[in-house]
Symmetry: D2
Subunit: 429 residues, 4 copies
Amino acid sequence: MPEPVFQKTQVHNLGAHYEAVRALSLSLTANLSDADATAQSMPDASPAKWHLAHVTWFFETFVLRDHVPGYRSFDDRFAFLFNSYYEAEGPRHDRPRRGLLTRPSLDDVLAYRGHVDAAMYNALPLLNDGGRSLVTLGLHHEQQHQELLLTDILHLFAQNPLQPGLWPRGQRDLIAGPGPLIWHEGPSGLIEIGHKGDDFAFDCEGPRHKVHLTPYALADRPVSNGEWINFMESGGYRDPAHWLSDGWAWVQAEGVEAPLYWQPDGAGGWTRFTLSGREPVNPAEPVTHISLYEADAFASWADARLPTEAEWEAMAASRDSLTGHFLDRAGPCRPMVAGHEVGKDRRPHQMFGDVWEWTGSAYRPYPGFRAAEGAVGEYNGKFMSGQFVLRGGSCATPRGHARASYRNFFYPHQRWQFTGLRLAKDMTA
Amino acid sequence: MPEPVFQKTQVHNLGAHYEAVRALSLSLTANLSDADATAQSMPDASPAKWHLAHVTWFFETFVLRDHVPGYRSFDDRFAFLFNSYYEAEGPRHDRPRRGLLTRPSLDDVLAYRGHVDAAMYNALPLLNDGGRSLVTLGLHHEQQHQELLLTDILHLFAQNPLQPGLWPRGQRDLIAGPGPLIWHEGPSGLIEIGHKGDDFAFDCEGPRHKVHLTPYALADRPVSNGEWINFMESGGYRDPAHWLSDGWAWVQAEGVEAPLYWQPDGAGGWTRFTLSGREPVNPAEPVTHISLYEADAFASWADARLPTEAEWEAMAASRDSLTGHFLDRAGPCRPMVAGHEVGKDRRPHQMFGDVWEWTGSAYRPYPGFRAAEGAVGEYNGKFMSGQFVLRGGSCATPRGHARASYRNFFYPHQRWQFTGLRLAKDMTA
Amino acid sequence: MPEPVFQKTQVHNLGAHYEAVRALSLSLTANLSDADATAQSMPDASPAKWHLAHVTWFFETFVLRDHVPGYRSFDDRFAFLFNSYYEAEGPRHDRPRRGLLTRPSLDDVLAYRGHVDAAMYNALPLLNDGGRSLVTLGLHHEQQHQELLLTDILHLFAQNPLQPGLWPRGQRDLIAGPGPLIWHEGPSGLIEIGHKGDDFAFDCEGPRHKVHLTPYALADRPVSNGEWINFMESGGYRDPAHWLSDGWAWVQAEGVEAPLYWQPDGAGGWTRFTLSGREPVNPAEPVTHISLYEADAFASWADARLPTEAEWEAMAASRDSLTGHFLDRAGPCRPMVAGHEVGKDRRPHQMFGDVWEWTGSAYRPYPGFRAAEGAVGEYNGKFMSGQFVLRGGSCATPRGHARASYRNFFYPHQRWQFTGLRLAKDMTA
Amino acid sequence: MPEPVFQKTQVHNLGAHYEAVRALSLSLTANLSDADATAQSMPDASPAKWHLAHVTWFFETFVLRDHVPGYRSFDDRFAFLFNSYYEAEGPRHDRPRRGLLTRPSLDDVLAYRGHVDAAMYNALPLLNDGGRSLVTLGLHHEQQHQELLLTDILHLFAQNPLQPGLWPRGQRDLIAGPGPLIWHEGPSGLIEIGHKGDDFAFDCEGPRHKVHLTPYALADRPVSNGEWINFMESGGYRDPAHWLSDGWAWVQAEGVEAPLYWQPDGAGGWTRFTLSGREPVNPAEPVTHISLYEADAFASWADARLPTEAEWEAMAASRDSLTGHFLDRAGPCRPMVAGHEVGKDRRPHQMFGDVWEWTGSAYRPYPGFRAAEGAVGEYNGKFMSGQFVLRGGSCATPRGHARASYRNFFYPHQRWQFTGLRLAKDMTA
């Protein structure tokens, strides 16, 4: 998951933006107990309390400490506890041991947030452009952690035999299942990708540059649970012919035979664990919680492939990244049925929201990329090995956070995010 | 740590005993937050909340379920969550994942305790002897978990960079340091050890049997921190000549160079972490939080050895196991200075309380030992490989729980209990 | 390291080619004892005996079994022992346990080679084009294993405290050290890369396709040992600012502080272990046995970057891949001093031979890539995750094996091959 | 496996003893190739070549270096390679990496043996008593390594899919299967155990001392393969009720369901791998290659227990340790059918030879035990944690090496030695 580096920033309504983002974090955690907010279910995940404090430390450090004379830190020891991975900011608590921090309590962290918010509201009118840019950066940073917070809680609750839900189950989605895949040819030849314009983007989204694409087509929608069940039933998880070598080793070592959180229902069907507890798998919804290895194997089985990130972006560039099924408020969170945008005449649909789409592109720098100076320069560039790019955002991504040029990235075995796939294929000339 | 199996039981004041033991558990955890009570700092440790629930499940299962017609369980799912290791009671939650059980909450567990306590108070007057014996067993079982609960919280808090204390620091112990060791010859020749009489004891404490002891002497008191510092400063942790082979491998692999919880104070001295936070090491106190490997190496360095459990018991048999520095109530908990019983004319002193004393005896069955039938038979016998016996109880052992025949046991590398040592030597004939 | 898939093949002199390649394998192993040829020093490496047998199994299986009616296998059990990773060819001996195969002996394996060679010489005149193509493929395959065999023996001998050499030390290279780096701008804009023409190439080298390159320059030569020592002495291995996050974790976990096989000489300098034993590091030679992580960190420290594979290939396309310092025969094997080609008016020089050059490109399929059908289709495509591309060949690569389009690949932490780097930088427009 | 410390020594025929022991080592390895003698199949095992060299290093170091003025070592680097675990003798090659020592070759090691033997034959007539005692010690030491060498080769060959045999299969044992177990009561009350007299014994066999035994009986013979199959077929490996807790964890983690080297024969029966290759399990032979955990579980399932080492020694004291099925020469090596000594009127029989018998006694020092001074003092005492005692010797133990007081020891999970069991039970008073 990228940490943000600002390039340009929104200069209007910064206070309102700050208030809205900070409030969403609190509402997402309103149903958590102190213990819920403290536990860490695996090294890849962090406690909810830690997320709440870390994003606050970010404002305290890079805005208040560096741009507000006389600011007094809430607690000098918090820098050690709540720095994530910024080597330039000094030593820090071991990531796999975040779940042992029963103190400070959730209430202490909320008080920390209050202290920093008060100082930020005082400071906002007085900040120079550099400071305002860092605030914008901090808000996009906090949005990233909102999504991580939800996926980390989902993972934690999934480990509990009581299978608790964070929110009540929402109304079920009654739209009928998707029809057969339809292929749409995308722009090819010499095109441009990468962020352009003055709006905020992370450093890794640029520089904008030319790429040459050979003719290709993308599917009109993500792969559905029903299609995934076909893959499973045809032995997809047991036939090495479809798998990357590393993926096959992972399947064997971990005993993987279905997406994360799926369990047999005892009657030949499947259930999945969600933020609203365990429920039947809906064949019409996009499949999610799959690894790159699984996505790649499915594509091979389907005689297709994953799109490259350039293909995806070329296709997505003409679409409105603010629409789609994103996170707007605390409450039931799930991908909507594949095809729910059909009829709106914007094809391929569901490119934004619902599920992050694995691409076949390794996460590497664009031509001319240079990381920013200082600690904020550690946000993206240093993660550019071993990971793959995902595009488009998910139902757990705050609306307005994703865009066509947005590059999310995870290791190919990771699948606790809302990850899915869209098929691509080569066009015969 | 042994789980108990009853043989004989106290038949008087069972209700008062029940009330006192159950109340102590609550008072020990009164300062814990929901998060404190949920976290698990290592697979060997359990969350405080889990201890509170597990001992309650013990009464609910072996007394209420099995001896009280019509009892309705508080929550049928708790058996899966709170069974520790009783294979005969069915599958259970993985031990290393106990810290992920943020639900049920601490309040839920307290309600569970209330439900079971109410049922127990109703049932106590009506139980037959078998049922009453199981109650007594359950109370000794709960006392064991009281000690574990404290040592597990100590371990958890020690991982927190904020170094929180459970209780305020008590008044420091002003008694001057101990004098030189004095050796006392113990009973030798053909003697008897093992539990006798009708009072409660665990199954592994019997049968009482004869052993032949060659002449030996025990030190009048445990080894002190000051003596341990001498060992450290003379290179004790760096010279393989003193160490068991497994111990030397452990020292090298773990980088051990001092007792658990010790850190340099930056001025050439040492601090230790306690249930009241970090404090200077008091040279007069018994050393604690050492492994069998360390105890054995120290004894070798001191040209002595560890006592066998038979030697220890033969020496302790004439002493009153109710006196000594034990746990009486919630509050500061630490070994008292070595020698604090001097002058009371009961030598060797500090055999009961202060620190568990590693013996050189592997934990194996006594001649004629047979485990009880059924689930309760799993308590002790199945742990009889790879562990060493400790004797005497500690400052965290509830008073009345230990006795001369009591056999505690841990693996030779474990040291998060209040473990120390007393030296022994052979008497030249 | 890629396994080969043929596309086109050499149709002339196939018998002579076969004879030459097979003979080189034998001469490379002539100095090995049965034990030398059997041991396996790590899971990534294979025993020399296994290499000799595996490449023979390849001919026996894909040529003799599939194209020569009536062929009788030498030993039916060898398919299980000497299949490398072809899932379609059935189960096989665990890779990390290859070193336990003391039987068949080296003599048995040589007899196996003789049996297959005899059958091959009989079969060659009769093979159809498909069969001949598989022979060519098998020869390129064997050349790959010749390089692996040497690097695996180097790794094995490096573990031996006696530090044995495979060959006597060759005459030292007396050419003076290289001068300062000189930058050469490469072809940019819309270019083509990938294999073209009828000569043999592996499937992953195509299809040939267009890529768009922004202006860049490459250094005239690989980075030298002397420059690497500067990096080390300026704290390069201890400053996280230069490192990829995964690389920094690797440096910390493995305690890396120099290239593989380097040791301090006790007088402030360095030695390196080679196929001729331990010797002083020559500052003029190209650095080798470094990981992608180290290469990337060096480039960052030098305010440069690694070339992409497209940049490298665009620059190399006009050069003769048959020249350069390659493996021609059994005997001392080492990179030649950086700059040894200077004066030959072919700049940048040393692109072919000496050391494999890490690129910044992840090993992924080219547009339109499709793996071949059947077992041979497993050779390249299934390894396309998590690895980086290297270009140009090394002093241990048989001459004629590498070419401008050749894509070698390894994981970013691996460094037992002859791996080095050449710097690149962006040209400001 | 104990390393020896001498106490008294044989003073007659030392030269003949030396010649016989040294010759047996060579004959045991006569069928091994250089590669066979170099490979190491697990960290617990050592290469045959290493055994041959290590026992030679022992004579070279403790006899020739320390007692023969002017002795010139064969190769000064061998001390680093062939020291096993004597910390006092300085650093040494990592045990798990012994299999990478392809140099020195087997021929080099044989030359080393020749060099040392020549010096020893010259020295023997001139040695003082101390030197002669060390020779005796070295011979007993070499005998221990003869057994380890065979069990290590057995383990290595068992990993090879070709399933090679070291020796041709011997004539099958035609004696009919054993009858039902017969129980024999042993000496009880106050008895003495431990070595006495002037013959050689290891330090851990003494001091001789009194122990008190409650009445018990031992079975007349070891448990047979047929009885073990009954245990397996009754679900013995799947029922935790019979197992020590550590044993049950081991069974689960390792997926153990039969003795080591056993495999189903595909027709409902079992085969076992031996030094003569794979063969059907003979129900009449003593079971072997079982762990202490398995032995203990079997005993529990059979409503019996393991004998203590004192019980075993009390029963064995009156028997002749030179008789029994021991190793006399190179050639087929296997336990003989249970009951083969029946009729010879020495009951219980098969106490010496055939299989080492696990006892229920942890390997700990006897009262008054003190390790010897210097490097030889590391032989036994430092291994006295975590291991269990085995008694009696096996078919792979050189005749004359074992005796009634002999204490062998291994960790409870280890089973690559010829380990079996004999049942014991308490006599009701």
